[in-house]
Symmetry: C2
Subunit: 112 residues, 2 copies
DNA sequence: CTAGAATGATTCATAAATAGCGCATATATT
DNA sequence: AATATATGCGCTATTTATGAATCATTCTAG
């Protein structure tokens, strides 16, 4: 009926997701919050929090980041204020970068 | 007619997702990769890469991290090797933490 | 040791994400 | 300026994640 249909992921991406999940669990435990607590505050189900902490790749980044915020885990090693600052700086940087990338179809650089 | 059906997210989580999307776009542009290039390498659609770079909350963390890996964006400011090291360290830490959190109905720590 | 509670793991219906298209616009190169 | 390409953003069909309920297991407190 339903195919496993698993998608392929790089080890790096997998490790990153698993690490993030572990950090969330660690932060939650240190704050002495139960899974149910966090789920309720984040507005998601208990099972989803569990999957997030397991580092499953299918969870939406919105849910993951929201849970991370609730357990007080600093994303990008930045506090809320610093994060917003980073944002505006990144906005500036992006305006300076080219809006479109030209891939020379005639000139293919496929070196590496 | 599709309902927005938006979930509520904290500003912190939103900022983090948007920032990550911008960093991905920045890294992609600097590497002179087109959206199509990245989409093909990541095994996802062009539209999804676009949404990821816009920082939309609905994208799966697997897709986001995979794309980040492809454009060479270091997650958690760590290279693949360092990431794996972090992972094993985190595993150790988690074994030391309590496996279950006792919901202190009598005692609430809500300090932050 | 025991009881109560949190966690882990399934199942299923439903909601949502994703792919794949096509078209309009913006952009870079000549 | 012309042209070829990348990008942005609709749309629909399909795949997938999510929520809810349930049960087994592990843990903590007494």
């Amino acid at each position: 009926m339903s195919k496993p249909a698993q998608r392929s992921y790089s080890g790096y991406a997998r490790d990153a997701a698993e690490l993030l999940g572990m950090m969330i669990r660690s932060a939650r435990t240190e704050r002495e919050l139960t899974v149910s607590d966090v789920a309720e505050r984040a507005g998601v189900s208990r099972g989803l929090v569990h999957r997030i902490e397991k580092g499953e790749m299918g969870c939406s980044i919105g849910a993951v980041f929201e849970v991370a915020a609730i357990v007080g885990l600093p994303l990008f090693e930045a506090e809320p204020t610093a994060l917003t600052r980073h944002l505006s700086m990144m906005r500036e940087k992006l305006t300076l970068l080219p809006k479109a990338v030209r891939t020379g179809t005639t000139r293919v650089k496929d070196d590496f």
